[in-house]
Assembly symmetry: C2
Homo-oligomer: 282 residues x 2
């Protein structure tokens, strides 16, 4: 019995050393990865960007679900103790399918945490969600906010050009401001209380959006709230890594290591080389 | 013998009734399809947009070649008498692989015709090519122009934001002008003689580009030159359809019939319904 219990203890420790898997259609999810690294610096992490098939935001739900479940299966193959779906579109479309697939590995999306952060910032507020076509088409934030605050008002605006702005590295300046202003004008006549960044590319544009929007509008980014939820889930499941050493990070992509390094570095806030990125097939 | 020759005649007629296959990563190639329809109104056409995996322009050559050969195989399955690669990126990366794959079906890319049109417009000229990252990365226009005009000067500029501008339907107005101006500023200090639209999305932006550029710069669009090459290839191969009735058009896409119809209508210059688009798997 003593031996068995010892083994069980060993196994638990090994299990807690497993990385948290973080998955996105491309590099945008690195904003979420960064927040998780800051909140949980001792955790091992493995990030998978499905760059061969990005963007997901303009694809159909059927394709998005197929892509997301394939990406999750690849991370499951590597051995992970939790899965973070760091892509709003995949969270909107495929969260239920991913939970069914991942058995007892907890699966955390970004839309619930984003909605919670907005409701916390402005209870009974008017929320404007900036997101991809697919996320808006499914009303994902509308539903998530209504569950948490039934009197809140929600308006959702598809903003595909903001994705390319962030990818091109044009997050500041007059062109970025003009594009943000146009989407805000198209979205709403009334002034919202919050603007929710409903796509993991958009935190790069946070300053520009705050700059264009009225000063008293709260710009809500789901990255830090998602990191908080990841910590809670790990603690609830006794899954925290028991070590003072900094966690390791592996970066996987399905295409274009050089481009991943160049664009991803902007999201992660540090230089990356193509040698930091492993190519995988899904 | 008489019977055999009669059959051979029949077969040739049936063969000439086969459609021309036109393939693109998405809807941009519809600008080329439209030019072919105008030049050859009696030809049957089948268009395949690989919308499940667009855009190709930011993907790696290995992925682009795999996607392009799969799309060509799907069109070959339907029966076609010629293949038009109406995508600059796929033409830059995969033309040799596609020619090897398609046996005796002639394969026509858009880069050769685009380069020829520019050289014809301004012999010994200075050419500025606006294209995707992948097309620029391979120097595809630089090579195609040098083959036709060794003293020409060529400068290539990657312009990913122009793709999203066209897809978003923001082809005119102040934002479009500001983005075009920025790329032109980044591209060159000297004033070019031509600007080559090296991506099938860009003809939608032709007016804006001409507006921003100096009046005496010729903006070259490969669509009409490609259509002329298609006509020559069909005539050379005795492949022209012998009929006065208007040709039929089938539209195939790998994802998102509704979005294909909405965005594609802008490229084709007429209203499309999602019922006009057949979904296929590659």
């Amino acid at each position: 019995m003593a031996k068995l219990r010892h083994n069980a203890g060993m196994n638990r420790e090994i299990h807690c050393d497993l990385p948290i898997g973080v998955f996105d259609s491309g590099v945008g999810g690195l904003t979420v990865l960064k927040a998780i690294q800051e909140a949980l610096p001792n955790e091992n992490l493995v990030y998978l960007g499905d760059t061969a098939r990005l963007p997901y935001g303009t694809k159909s739900p059927v394709s998005i679900e197929r892509y997301a479940t394939q990406a999750a299966a690849k991370l499951q193959e590597q051995g992970i103790k939790a899965l973070v779906v760091a892509c709003n579109t995949a969270s909107a479309v495929a969260l239920a399918a991913l939970r069914a697939q991942m058995d007892d590995v907890p699966v955390i999306g970004v839309i619930g945490p984003g909605a919670a952060a907005a409701v916390e910032a402005r209870p009974a507020g008017k929320h404007l969600v900036l997101a991809t076509e697919a996320t808006v088409g499914l009303g994902a934030y509308r539903i998530a906010i209504a569950e948490r605050d039934p009197v809140a008002e929600v308006r959702e605006q598809a903003c595909e050009m903001l994705v390319s702005l962030a990818e091109e590295g044009w997050s500041n300046g007059e062109i970025a401001r003009a594009i943000v202003r146009r989407y805000l004008d198209e979205a709403t006549v009334a002034v919202p209380d919050t603007i929710i960044l409903g796509c993991t590319h958009f935190p790069l544009l946070k300053d520009t959006i705050q700059d264009v929007a009225d000063d008293d509008i709260v710009v809500v980014d789901s990255a830090s709230t998602t990191a908080r939820v990841v910590r809670e889930v790990l603690e609830r499941g006794a899954l925290r890594r028991n070590s003072d050493s900094p966690g390791l990070l592996r970066l996987l992509a399905t295409d274009g290591a050089t481009r991943f390094a160049r664009v991803g570095g902007q999201f992660l806030g540090r230089e990356l080389s193509h040698r930091d990125v492993e190519l995988v097939d899904l």
